[in-house]
Each structure stands twice: as structure tokens, then as C-alpha cells.
Symmetry: C2
Subunit: 434 residues, 2 copies
Amino acid sequence: MTGWWTTDETHDPARTSWVASAQGHADFPIQNLPYGVFSPAGGNARIGTAIGDMILDLAACADAGLIGEGGDRLLLPTLNALMAMPVDARRSLRRAISMLLSDPAMQGAVEPHLYTACDCTLHLPAQIGDYSDFYVGIHHATNVGRQFRPDNPLLPNYKYVPIGYHGRASSIRPSGQPLLRPCGQRKAPDADAPVYGPSVRLDYELEMGVWIGQGNEQGAPIAIHDAADHIAGFCLLNDWSARDLQAWEYQPLGPFLSKSFHSTISPWVVTAEAMAPFRIAQPARPDGDPAPLPYLADADDQAHGALSVMLSVYLLSAAMRDAGMAPMRLSQGPASNLYWTVQQIVTHQASNGCNMMPGDLLGTGTISAPTRDGFGSLLELSVGGKEPVSLPTGETRAFLADGDEIILQAVAQADGFVPIGFGECRAQVLPARA
Amino acid sequence: MTGWWTTDETHDPARTSWVASAQGHADFPIQNLPYGVFSPAGGNARIGTAIGDMILDLAACADAGLIGEGGDRLLLPTLNALMAMPVDARRSLRRAISMLLSDPAMQGAVEPHLYTACDCTLHLPAQIGDYSDFYVGIHHATNVGRQFRPDNPLLPNYKYVPIGYHGRASSIRPSGQPLLRPCGQRKAPDADAPVYGPSVRLDYELEMGVWIGQGNEQGAPIAIHDAADHIAGFCLLNDWSARDLQAWEYQPLGPFLSKSFHSTISPWVVTAEAMAPFRIAQPARPDGDPAPLPYLADADDQAHGALSVMLSVYLLSAAMRDAGMAPMRLSQGPASNLYWTVQQIVTHQASNGCNMMPGDLLGTGTISAPTRDGFGSLLELSVGGKEPVSLPTGETRAFLADGDEIILQAVAQADGFVPIGFGECRAQVLPARA
């Protein structure tokens, strides 16, 4: 079943909301309706949806009997149970919520449950059981590999295996929470021994996150044709990386403390249902590349499995902030630069029988474009630190400075449909703990 | 504070239990008192302790008012809240339980809450938030490294960094649950391309697991002198590994699907308190090895931070089982073959500010002795498959066959104290899913 690739009345560009700020909203028109967990000022955490500049308290709507089937899953403080719903039930719930916010006859009953978004606190949307991070942005993998192996940047397994590794779930935080510069071991190339101290090569990574919906039993892989039905939605993910810690620690078992200090996600779950209009064909592989092995190959996935999403990264330094400057865009590029579809990632992760659970999070890996204006990390933009980026203040950045804020943005777009955004994924770097 | 390195009356070798089978029990004399989660036949999961051949229902004891402070944490279906208790409270609870099971005057009140262990089902003891696996068995790392780099088996970071990586929490299972042989990509050295199918180089790994007790806030590392107070207890861990999948997938981000299909743990948490008599000095580093960096160096940790635990691995093939044979011991060796103490592992994991939570699990990595009789994996015993192990049936094993059962055992021992065991960590390999 791939029902959520089909659009319905909730995607109709003519549909408007009685919430005035929704019309033309960059992120949250009525065609989006992402799920999240929020607290109004002084209130408890609850499930809501973003609509324009407002948040609708879906728990209160369910409690008031305004939502039929699935409403009980809105009364919980995380989205895990909602994510676990079958695709048909998720689509029904979306239609019900879209009706509440578009039908003028519902305004009287629903409006008391709206909150001004900027007065609310957003939380992690789900209890994340396991977090895995992939490496399927092929231009990023090529750029990074070239710094180590100029003649042979991609390893032999890259075009067969959606490369990934386990990440740290406990330190994932929602947008807006600052991160402390991490400490760790680093060793200069010409030093005899490593030292322990604050990272001097702190970087960001532009990624998308994939939220798992229905899980799978241990020992029961997910067929590629069914993988889309196991995806609940998407977010932005900043996989903060301490490159000096990473270079010293990563052999032979991969990145560990260079990543696990903090990861930032956009807190709204842009649902798989909302993304139906923005499904596009996976770009053809370059001539000479091997075809995916059969367990990763599906005609529907190749025809509709990629995402039409434009991704951007902005930087705001402390000096820029003090000078009242706007954030500077560091890069922009499309999600179609992923070598594998998100469905292939899901199927690969379960292909050994590993069980996934609702609320698990998969990162795509850094998404870079082939050219410098779309590089998704400072490691790439500064060529390993050798060519620092210039800021409008005259400052330069080989890697991040304390006070820097990184802002990720994403917009899904397609002809004939209203574009929808992911909301901000931003966080500021604070100095290392004394 | 390192209070749990101190013994008290609960460790007195003269203390006996009115539960007759506890006296001289190989695993569970009254000096052990591990925590676990069990279900009696037809009953719900609850917290208990193993005593001889019996399990005491601690939830029922708490409910009956037999336990004072800390009793409320025994009423839950996992040990996470119990693990989160401060060290002093954990020690008080242990004294209370030891008294219930040793004082003949308590027998009448307590005996109704005992169950025969073999009639009960044991569950995972905690909800495991994050699972990390380390690689600090230096002889294992040397043996494996030698297969790739005969002249230089250990990488330059090994003696500075307690090497580790994130593992998969969702697929950890308690002893007794069989595992399916995993499928995945493997590539023969002389093949042009990989194939997807059942692993043909399935292996076990002998490890100890470390249960995290009190956690730490994100951004707040754990000083090495305090690390012991963040450890709730220990278990056995079999880190099942598909060597063919691992060899093909692991570069550059480390092991992933070669491990995530299934990991087996012994379900009883042998508490840090119970292990107090079995703390020994960390063996001196060989001449020429660097000293630990200051954040990992502590005199108390070096003097008392290692564990006097003897570890054994047994194999029982289907043919051996059919012939009524006993399992064959594959190896035996002490936990003191770890290059870093478990406290150093904990401190390192938090050294970048990564937050740990009660119920997180850390694996030590495979513990091998310097000589073949103590090698902790078939990869080492069979020298990468080239020298298969002979079984008493005349069968040979380069790697595991379907029907094989691997049994890990551990005994903590010290002069003047009653030895305590960890209980079994066993699981059988079933054929790959058709």
C-alpha cells in the first residue's frame, strides 16, 4: 500500500483556513498541518498542530469531542502512539483536522483551543527509542572522502550499501536549545599525544530526519514496496560535529563522542501525508553505477520515492546579531541530492531483521549539492578549514565560533500545490563548560 | 563518593538464607541479590530478586509493607527508577532485602512471595534508552587488528581513547530468546559485486554489560572519581556479530547491521553493591604505554576499579544436544583483561557532555585473554575462519551453525567471600527467515 502518495482535498491549493495568518504562511498553511508537542505558557505538554502563526491544541479538540477516530491518541504527551497508526487512519485524522481549521462553521468551537505560537514552548515530538544516522548525501560523502583520498573519494561499498551508523538518542534536542561546545580528545598531526579540551573544529551538518511510524517485528524485514507506509513524517536535523574529536576517535568503529553531545531537530513532524504532492522521481543513477540490489529496488520507489524539498543553511554570528544584521545564507540545495530514497534507508535498516519502533528517528546524512553553493557543512565549505568563509562583518569562519547560531530551513514545493515549510531548526553555540 | 566499594553485613560469608537452595548456590547465594523483572506463570511482569532456585517477588514485598524506603520504586515494571536511586539508598534497600531473606523471623511473612525460578519468565530488566558498545578488551582488539594489519594491530588512538560506538537498543533481548540468522549484504574478496542473503560468518562476542544508575545532565561530564556512583550493576552480553556483513559495511562509519539484529543479555542485574568484595586493582599498563589523560585518571579507580570476574563461553550444537552431550567450553578468562576500567568507560562516554540516563547499557567489548584458551569470539578462535574449532561430535566450527547455542557465564570471586554468579546468558541460532 502506498496510499499516502495520493493527494486529496487536504492538499487542495484552494483550501483556506479561518485562521487568517495561515494564508500564504511560509511554513504552516492549512496544507501542512504538522504534528508537534507544545506547552502553552504555564501549561503542560500536549499534542498540537501548527497553523499560520498559531498552534491548535489537538488534545483539547479531542477532549471536546471534535475529532473522531484517532482522537484518543491525541491525549498523550508524545506522538509515538499517533505515529504508530496505520496509514488510512492517519489520513482520516488529517482530513478531520483540516476540516476543523477550514470550515468556517467550526470556528466557534475550535478557536478557544488556539494559542499564539510565539508564546508556546515546543518539545521533542516523540520519545526517540533509537536514532540512526545515514550517509547517503553522495556529494557530501564525495567531498569528505576527497579530503582523505583525493583519487578515490568514495569507498567501494558506497553505491551498494546505504551507509549508516547508530547515533545517540538521549542528546537530541528541539530547535532553540543552545548547545555547549563539547570537550574531547584531539590530536594535532604533528603532536606526540592527544590533549583533552574544547573542540576547535566545531561544525554543523544539514540533514533531514525521518520519523518511523508503524514498526516491524524483530526478524521481519520491511519490503521496499512497503517502506513508505512505515514513515510517519520528516523534520530537519542538525548533526553537530566536532571534527577534531571525530578525526582522532573514529577508527575503527566510527563517529561517537564527536556527535553525541547534542543534535538539533525541528520540532514539527511534517507528515508523510502532507508530503504527498512533493513526491518526485528518484534521479537516475549516473552511467556506470550499479543498480540497487533487489531488496532495495522498487519501481514505485524510483518513480515517486524522492522528495522535492529545498534546503537552506544560515549563520548568524554574535557580531552580526549585535549589528542587527540578518543571518547569512551559507548554502542552499535540493534533497534530491540523496543517493538513496528514504524508503531505501528504512528497508536497509530493517533488512537484517532489526526491529524499528514508532518514534525512531533516522537521519539522511549531510545533504550537499555538487557545487559549493550547496555544501551542507563547514568542513566542505572551508575545504577542511583551509579556505574560511567570509561573513558580512569581515569575520571569517573555518569552523564555528562561540555565539554563532545555525539556522536550517526546508520548503517542499511542486507545481500546482501550496508550498509547505518545516519550521526552523536553529541553535546557538555556547562556550565550553569551564 | 565511592561508598559501594565498601563491604557490609550483606557480604558476610557467614550469612545464610532460610531459602535452603541459596546455600552454596553457584549464582544466587544471599550475598548476590540481583534485581530483575520476571513474570510468574500467568502473572504480570514485576521486580524480583533471585535467591537460590527461587525468585522473591519484591513488588509484593513492598506492597505488603515489608520494605521501607525505596519500596515504591519496586512497584514498577522496570528497574529504571530503582537504578536511578542514590548510592546510599541502594545500599539501604539491599540491606533490607538481605534481612528479609536471612532472618528466620521473616520467613513466615516473606515465603508466600517466593516463586520457583524455572516456572518464571525473565524479561529485560530496564527500558534501555541508549546502548553503547566499547572495544576495550585489548587482546580482542589486538587479535582482530592482527588479521588486518599483522605488523601494527592496534591503531594509534587505542591506548588513549576508550574506543566505543553507539549500538542498537531495540533489538536487545534477554537470555533464552533464540535469534534468527541475519540476512545482509556480503561481498567475497574475489567477487565483482555483493549479494544479499543469510550471513555465512555468524559469530558471538563475550562481553560484560554495565547498567547506568544515576544519569548526568546534558553538558555536565562525570568526573572519573564519581563514575562508580553512576553504575547500577552488571550483566553478561553476547554481541552477536555477522562478520561477513561487518567486513563489507563497516567503512567509514563502523559496524551497523552486522550487530543490530539481536544482542543477548543475562537478565539479572548484579548490583554494584553486590560487587563490592570483587573490586581489585586495575592491572598496571605495560611499560611504554601512555598514562591515561587526566580526565580518565584517578588513584582510587586504579586501586579498586577493576572486577575480579571469571568469564566462560560454552557451545552446544544441535548434534551435541541430540546426543545428550554437555556444552563444550570454548574459552575462559578474567575480566581484568579490559584495558580500561568500567568507570573510565562511563567517564569517557560523558566527557563531551553527552547525557546518560538510568537504564542505559554500556558493553565493554569482547573480553579475550592473551592466549587462545581465553579468546572471546570464533573470529579469534578460528583465526578468521582458517582454523575451525573441533567439537566432541567430530563437527567443526569456523563460525556458528544453525541450531548452535552459545552460553556465557560469569563468576565473581575473592578470597574470604562467597562467590556470586551472573546467571546464564544463552541463546540458540535459528535458520534465517525464508
